[in-house]
């Protein structure tokens, strides 16, 4: 059976061209870029080229603003911890309730260490209240960390505007752009963003490689010390093969940017229309008019997300869910809770995330298969009868 991969916000297939580019760096090009001989020199030049490719994708002013890390999570941690260490008199952080755990879990940890963290709330469509944000910016704020696009709903936050607002108050601004990089054009040199995190495997590069964009002149304290690599900003021998690969992935992402925002978007919209026209009690979560072109998060009321995923998987379709049961926690995703999704739908969200690999046939098949799955699970549910909810007659006293 042909499998259909619609979980590209989790990870993407490494582009074959990227694989081809990286392979020699495991074999003949094995040198340490720090070495003063030909082996090292060749790898050093390759890293320089990769830095330039990523600079181009981000629209950064200098290639030295690109610092290679091991992943998006490391970039996030480095950015936030650096801001705190570099400005010890500032003890507050501003972030949002719907950040990735890479930021949220760190912030919760920092709260225990005595820092104050302000978590901006979102409305029902996942949008921030910029007035609330403005009122929280102060001389106490060490850093603002706000994601560019939400990983679950794809909803954009107005990071360019928010960075301007932060700078106007003399506050440093970081954005976790792991989902946005490669999907929308960026021009960091003409923005006020000080730091930005990205991850290789979200844009058809390998896992285990990330970048922290660090605007020239930004006060910085490294997370890892012990070597001069990355100009002393991230010690540790460079992951040369993956860096070269990420450079190639960035180049390809730039080439595919147009396709992402036309063709991928068209397929995503077709998928949503195809499903919602056949399935009742279902709706799109997040802000439909302001989100990533590849992401669709649909809530199906009165059924549970994990069982939808298991059924889809049986039909060779890979998607993901914000349901509690997929993560082993008892609560549905923090993003869905923050948006105040109705309790009838909070456990039944399914995320489809497309990529440039997605085909028309993939989407057509999902549109054919999914309504039957929803119907079957609703038939099993005590909350459903005759194609409509019956929750009045099923209300256990023991929750």
């Amino acid at each position: 059976m042909e499998t259909i991969y619609l979980d590209n916000n989790a990870t993407t297939r490494v582009d074959p061209e990227v694989v081809e580019t990286m392979l020699p760096y495991f074999t003949e090009q094995f040198g340490n870029p720090s070495s003063l001989h030909e082996y090292g020199n060749r790898v050093g030049l390759a890293l320089k080229k990769a830095r330039g490719q990523i600079q181009a994708l981000l629209g950064a002013e200098y290639d030295t603003e690109i610092v290679f890390t091991s992943c998006g999570t490391e970039s996030d941690s480095t950015a936030i911890l650096s801001a705190l260490k570099a400005q010890p008199q500032r003890r507050e952080i501003i972030t949002t309730q719907v950040e990735h755990p890479a930021v949220l879990a760190l912030c919760e940890h920092l709260e225990k260490e005595g820092y104050t963290v302000h978590y901006l709330a979102v409305d029902g469509q996942g949008r921030l209240d910029l007035e609330q944000y403005q009122s929280l910016l102060s001389e106490q704020t060490a850093i603002v960390s706000v994601m560019w696009a939400n990983n679950e709903t794809g909803t954009f936050f107005p990071v360019l505007e928010m960075a301007e607002m932060a700078h106007a108050r003399g506050v440093m601004f970081h954005t976790d752009a792991v989902q946005a990089v490669g999907k929308i054009p960026m021009d960091l040199k003409n923005s006020k963003i000080d730091m930005l995190s990205l991850s290789g495997h979200k844009l058809h590069g390998p896992k285990g490689i990330g970048v922290l964009y660090l605007r020239r002149g930004t006060r910085f304290r490294p997370l890892l010390r012990g070597g001069h690599q990355e100009r002393g900003r991230r010690a540790g021998t460079e992951n040369a093969a993956s860096i070269v690969a990420l450079g190639k992935a960035a180049e390809l992402a730039l080439q595919a940017m147009e396709h992402e925002n036309t063709e991928v978007r068209r397929l995503r919209d077709k998928l949503e229309k195809g499903i919602l026209s056949q399935v009742n009690y279902a709706f799109i979560t997040g802000d439909p008019d302001n989100r990533l072109p590849n992401t669709s998060n649909i809530a199906f009321e009165y059924i549970e997300g994990e069982s939808i995923l298991l059924m889809l998987n049986k039909f060779g379709i890979a998607a993901s869910s914000g349901s509690a049961c997929t993560s082993g926690s008892l609560e549905p995703s923090h993003v869905m809770r923050a948006m105040g999704l109705p309790y009838t739908a909070a456990h039944g969200t399914v995320r489809f995330s497309l990529s440039r690999d997605t085909t028309e046939a993939d989407i057509d098949r999902v549109i054919v298969v999914l309504p039957g799955i929803i119907d079957q699970l609703r038939t099993l549910s005590p909350y459903w009868k005759y194609n409509a909810p019956v929750k009045e007659s099923f209300d256990p006293a023991y929750a």
Binding site: C325, G328, H347, P396, A397
Partner: protein, 351 residues
């Protein structure tokens, strides 16, 4: 993706007895939409014999919730109400060849629906005293509510205490930070110092014995608060000791005063008596291991060295060293002397 057994998947994709039961005379409803799972169990009971003639279910929930419901109906059909009530959530999980620890609550929900349905048939009210929280210890499936309640009820103040009382933290120890967080929250309410302070050698409450590393597993460990910093092996050994107390009531209770070392604690016995006692311990732990598809056999007794072999699922089990420590602990309690358990060949583990 969860590591669901074939049987769970099979019952999910082809649920037995799904749908409404028109002639139901006992209905149990549990769960809620906001909790993410809910189950209606419908029974048709023969009033003369109190036998369950038919059982059907409707479930809103994840794969294992649906599979657990399906399994439950299959198990109880044809049983009398009393027989059915004897079905435990573990029975439901066993019927499905096991559930991931995070999913055990699905089998609990099945059992609750059964109790509710029987109560409904008898015209009684069934009250639910079950509360659950986020899973903290994944090795033993212990949740936050249970840990917090146990800390409060028993005035616990160290991670080691929590492991003694709940087993939580006795396995891979990855959740120790989480347990400390819960402890610190409760300790703060009680106005006591946070957990970390117990580990300071200068702390006035540290009256426990310092255990030399070379005999760390050869001494009974006090369960009193204020123990010195412990190695993971100690905690694991303690966890098994606590486990044995719970599941094997005839095992001597670990003294919670000062540690007792071997020979003075029990009268001297002859070789034959000693051997029988060793065998008895082995026999006693076997059902526990067999439940997890493992087993243990006694190979040889050479003074204080007892050679055993772990087989079946124990062979490659990451918790095998913990199992060994646990058996060793029970062995020492039974014999009242220091013994060392030595795994032979097939058990590729070190104590």
């Amino acid at each position: 993706m969860w590591n669901y057994s074939e049987k769970v998947q099979e019952h999910f994709f082809n649920p037995r007895n799904a749908g409404e039961l028109e002639e139901a005379n006992g209905i149990g409803d549990v769960g809620s939409l906001s909790c993410g799972d809910a189950l209606r169990l419908m029974l048709k009971v023969d009033p003369d014999t109190e036998t369950i003639l038919d059982a059907r279910f409707q479930t809103f929930g994840c794969g294992s919730a649906i599979a657990s419901s399906s399994a439950l109906t299959e198990i109880i059909k044809g049983k009398t109400l009393d027989e059915a009530l004897a079905v435990s959530n573990q029975d439901i999980a066993d019927y499905l060849d096991g559930l991931p620890p995070e999913k055990m609550h699905c089998s609990v929900m099945g059992r609750e629906a059964l109790q509710a349905a029987v109560a409904n048939y008898k015209g009684e009210e069934w009250s639910d005293d079950h509360e659950e929280g986020a899973l903290v210890c994944k090795c033993f499936a212990i949740d936050e509510v249970m840990i917090e309640d146990t800390i409060r009820a028993n005035h616990l103040s160290t991670v080691q205490d929590v492991t003694h009382y709940t087993k939580a933290g006795g396995g891979c120890s990855a959740c120790h930070e989480g347990i400390e967080d819960i402890l610190n929250r409760v300790l703060a309410e009680r106005g006591e110092a946070p957990v970390g302070s117990n580990l300071q050698p200068s702390d006035s409450r540290s009256e426990g014995h310092i255990i030399p590393d070379d005999q760390v597993s050869g001494v009974w460990v006090s369960s009193s608060a204020g123990e010195k910093a412990m190695t993971a092996a100690d905690v694991a050994a303690d966890a098994m000791a606590a486990l044995s107390q719970i599941e094997l009531p005839d095992t001597p209770v670990v003294p919670d005063t000062a540690p007792v070392t071997g020979n003075t604690a029990k009268p001297v016995m002859n070789n034959l008596q000693r051997m029988r006692r060793i065998e008895a311990v082995i026999e006693r732990v076997r059902p526990q291991l067999q439940r997890d598809h493992g087993d243990v056999e006694l190979i040889d007794i050479d003074g204080s060295n007892i050679h055993i072999r772990l087989t079946g699922a124990c062979t490659n089990c990451q918790l095998a060293s913990m199992t060994l420590s646990g058996i060793q602990q029970q062995m020492m309690e039974e014999l009242g002397e220091f013994v060392k358990l030595i795994p032979v060949k097939s058990a590729a583990v070190g104590v």
